[in-house]
Symmetry: C2
Subunit: 533 residues, 2 copies
């Protein structure tokens, strides 16, 4: 295997113990790309786990400034390499260098790393809780174990297993990361991992703070996420692979946080449709076509109430879909998935009103496809209608009346987001009140009068939602520091001598600014000396 690329284990680029090889594909040309990458065996996974476990013990004892410094230095090095990184990612994904990578995704990625660094320094994610009467003190603390991160195909930087949100969150809570790159962009991942390793070395973190494997057989993935040495797993990807990993991790009692699938329903209520249907059609097109529909948050199903306004809206959307150029998908698999989803929706009673077929030629493309279904068809087979296309195919569902609209709202599975457009003057308010209770319990993020594709990295963001959008409705993959809690554990200290407590729980506020709950009140103060309160 002399010509095969090396994996990053314990700080060294080594020949993989490979069970096979693979190459990525240029989605624009269909060409197979050099070089050849290894599919790692269990031996590589064992080596990674062993090195990461030792690193976990070291990271727990590493000063916060050093960990934050690493995250910031890594962000800086990514910025320095951004031209090279963006070009490679564009080659492997067909997503554009500008604005996508240089102006949006790379800045988001470095921003996430820097926000995580700030969270490490301010320690707010630990949420210390101190009861002075009983001297029982608790906080979220490190698991002292590695986190496995599986990156998706659609965000080669912001969700990359060796640089993205899960990576930043795990490192911030002092867990080394075993990164499983996505095999659709291995060279981009390798370049990132090289930058990451340099940052590790230049800030003197343990060599195994981040290790990277390109690919592994499904059963070896199950082995990794259920291994006694692993602390938890972060996964972003398809529902099928996610559920298989979840089953393995669950059976071993290992936490796994998954972001699997989302249709992101949009309800356009009749008043809004009448008031500004044309404008909303523009917004829907733009949001649906972001990244050729390959965001986790693209709107996949739009629900309307029957009538002339709905007919006009459907026609306007059809014209827009038909008129737009079809983007290049992330790979041949993407073309297949879109086609399958279109067929599944058709089998459930939806009608293709434009598009519907792959585009001939070398590029990975599918016609911009719009389907329409009646509300009763949707209600007859909500599962089939909610098949995720993950591409440039969308479904418009036209409900007969308010009752049917409400029933449809109650038939969605768990989603990351749900949008409701309503009349600005309040004409839709009664219907809004009927729809939203159904939607609220089914989505992580509820939006008014806007599309869901903008996922801002702010503490109040929830990029999560009920199953099967994710595996648990209480956690978010985006939003720092909230996302860090996933990789932490609740740690209580009962009667522990003060000098042995983590600094977050000692009487003196460790930064002077850390927010802690002391006897039920959030405060930045020290714990009052006995008798002083």
């Amino acid at each position: 295997m002399g010509d095969t690329e090396k994996v990053l284990l314990a700080g060294v680029w080594r020949d993989a113990d490979a069970t096979g090889t693979f190459q990525s594909i240029n989605p624009r040309s269909g060409e197979t790309l050099e070089p050849i990458f290894p599919v790692s065996s269990r031996a590589d996974i064992d080596a990674a786990l062993e090195a990461a476990s030792a690193a976990a013990g070291e990271l727990v004892r590493t000063p916060v400034g050093k960990i934050a410094g690493f995250l910031e230095h890594y962000a800086g090095l990514i910025e320095e390499s951004s031209a090279e990184l963006a070009e490679m990612a564009s080659l492997e994904t067909a997503l554009p260098v500008t604005p996508r990578f240089v102006d949006i995704e790379l800045p988001r990625t470095t921003n996430q790393l820097c926000q995580a660094a700030a969270a490490v320094r301010d320690r707010g994610w630990t949420m210390p809780n101190i009861d002075t009467a009983t001297n029982i003190r608790s906080m979220y603390g490190p698991m002292s174990a590695p986190v496995a991160v599986f990156g998706p195909n659609n965000f080669p930087f912001a969700y990359n297993a060796c640089a993205g949100g899960d990576f930043a969150a795990a490192i911030a809570v002092r867990s080394p990361v075993i990164a499983k790159a996505h095999p659709s962009h291995p060279k981009t991942s390798q370049l990132l991992a090289e930058v990451c390793l340099r940052a590790i070395q230049e800030t003197s973190l343990p060599a195994a703070t981040m290790q990277m494997i390109y690919h592994m057989a499904p059963e070896d993935g199950f082995y990794l996420v259920s291994h006694p040495l692993v602390g938890a797993t972060g996964y972003t990807g398809s529902r099928r692979a996610g559920l298989a990993l979840k089953a393995a991790a669950d059976a071993a009692g290992k936490p796994i946080y998954l972001e699997m699938s989302s249709i992101n329903p949009v309800f356009i209520l009749p008043g809004a449709l009448r008031e500004r249907g044309e404008e909303i059609a523009g917004e829907l097109l733009a949001s649906a076509m972001v990244a050729t529909g390959q965001f986790c948050t693209n709107p996949g199903i739009t629900v309307l109430k029957a009538g002339d306004d709905a007919d006009r809206f459907v026609a306007a959307m059809r014209d827009r879909f038909a008129a737009g150029d079809a983007g290049v998908l992330l790979g041949p698999g993407g073309v297949h998935v879109v086609g399958e989803a279109v067929r599944t929706m058709q089998a459930s009673g939806a009608e293709v009103i434009t598009g519907g077929a792959p585009i001939e030629g070398d590029a990975c493309r599918f016609e911009n496809t719009l389907l329409r279904a009646r509300g009763e068809d949707f209600l007859d087979d909500p599962e089939g209608m909610q098949e995720e296309a993950f591409g440039n195919a969308n479904l418009l569902v036209v409900a007969r009346d308010d009752d049917e609209l409400e029933q449809i709202a109650g038939s969605f599975v768990g989603n990351l987001t749900g949008c409701v457009y309503s009349h600005s003057g309040g004409e839709d308010d009664a219907l809004y009140e009927r729809i939203v209770p159904h939607l609220r319990r089914r989505v992580g993020r509820l939006l008014n009068d806007k599309m869901p594709t903008s996922v801002l990295v702010v503490p109040s963001m929830n990029h999560g939602g009920p199953y099967p959008a994710t595996g648990h409705p209480g956690f978010t993959a985006v939003g720092i520091p909230t996302s860090l809690i996933r990789f932490a554990m609740l740690q209580c200290y009962d009667g522990v001598r003060e000098h042995r407590l983590p600094v977050e729980l000692q009487d003196k506020n460790p930064t002077g600014e850390l927010w802690r709950t002391i006897d039920g009140e959030w405060t930045q103060s020290d714990v009052a000396a006995p008798g002083n309160s």
Copy 2:
């Protein structure tokens, strides 16, 4: 089935759709107790789920004062009935009326209900998080779905499915409870449920706010926890049953919070042993024998370092175990479990130094049993040595040296608690620093110089811990409001019109005292009007 007791469904005591019947046993006399209780079929579960789902929608719209009022009224009614309740519980469990029920467990139960009521009113558990620049706001909110609660055999009140901690937490987040009583104390559960129903009626909550089923076949339990209409499950009980329920819930993507098993290791470091071995022996005996060893937090394994002090400690413990009266266990099953655990530990190399056999006679009793093992035996078969006796059998492990002591600390599975006794003058500090990193990642609550059996209901309590003590290391079953988060979901509002937001997220602080994070700072203030900041 005219002679069979009725189940509580949708506010009415009804004949069960029964697949069989059962009776409880008086553990003191071995007698079968009247009356006869039904084992419910799936039809009862379906009825409960349907009624609870409707109630969930109502509870979400119910004012906080009404829900808090119910919890407080229920607590008051339990106090009024405490004599009758305690007597019945004592008959069914053999635990004493005083001090156990009247002075400890019933006050804890009503205190939990009242703390939950306060949490409902102050809304702090929702942890609102507001980002003003983006108008993205999030909080923990109700799942709007029923919670199934499975109560254990050992706390007929404080963990009862229709009155205990999981019940209080679920109701506080507005989820109706489907209570699965423990079949070892059905009459106690029935009396409590009657009190609960009266409280529901007198405060005009939905009739199905709490429903109760006494017993069901395992596969019907799996059906319940994985049902599309259920929101989540709280379970306290054996590891075997817990893991089976977990597998069913996990496969359906339904959150399940389990408290399953804990050995609660105690490390007595050499300096402490020399300094106050006799005193610690007294503490260990008292803690190990609380409730005849049937707490989740009784110390099960104590680890010592070999030497004269350890020999004296072992002898002192043996004398104390031998001299004490053996308590009555919760039932015949308990006697069997203790015997099995003793045999498993013996098979792993532990030696019985006192006790070891069931006590002849009608009462459910087992001799106070103490086992001793060498550190190397423990390390040869840590799994067998950690078999939970859940009764009056304890294991002392004597390590050869500091290295072996550290290895043992690194061989425990996840536990609720871990205790370290060390010399008051600091002589054990170097060894403490070696032991505790291993223990910290393996236990939810770390104690110094005290035994683990006191589980105080304060916000900083963690009654949780890594698998297999529970199913997830980030949650606690005790400690209000922290325990409420288990039954909530993270809900984000993105650009939602202000009047449509839950009051917790509106600009004006709903109570004037609710702590919220606004732009990264915890505050009780309103959101500043634009331009005023």
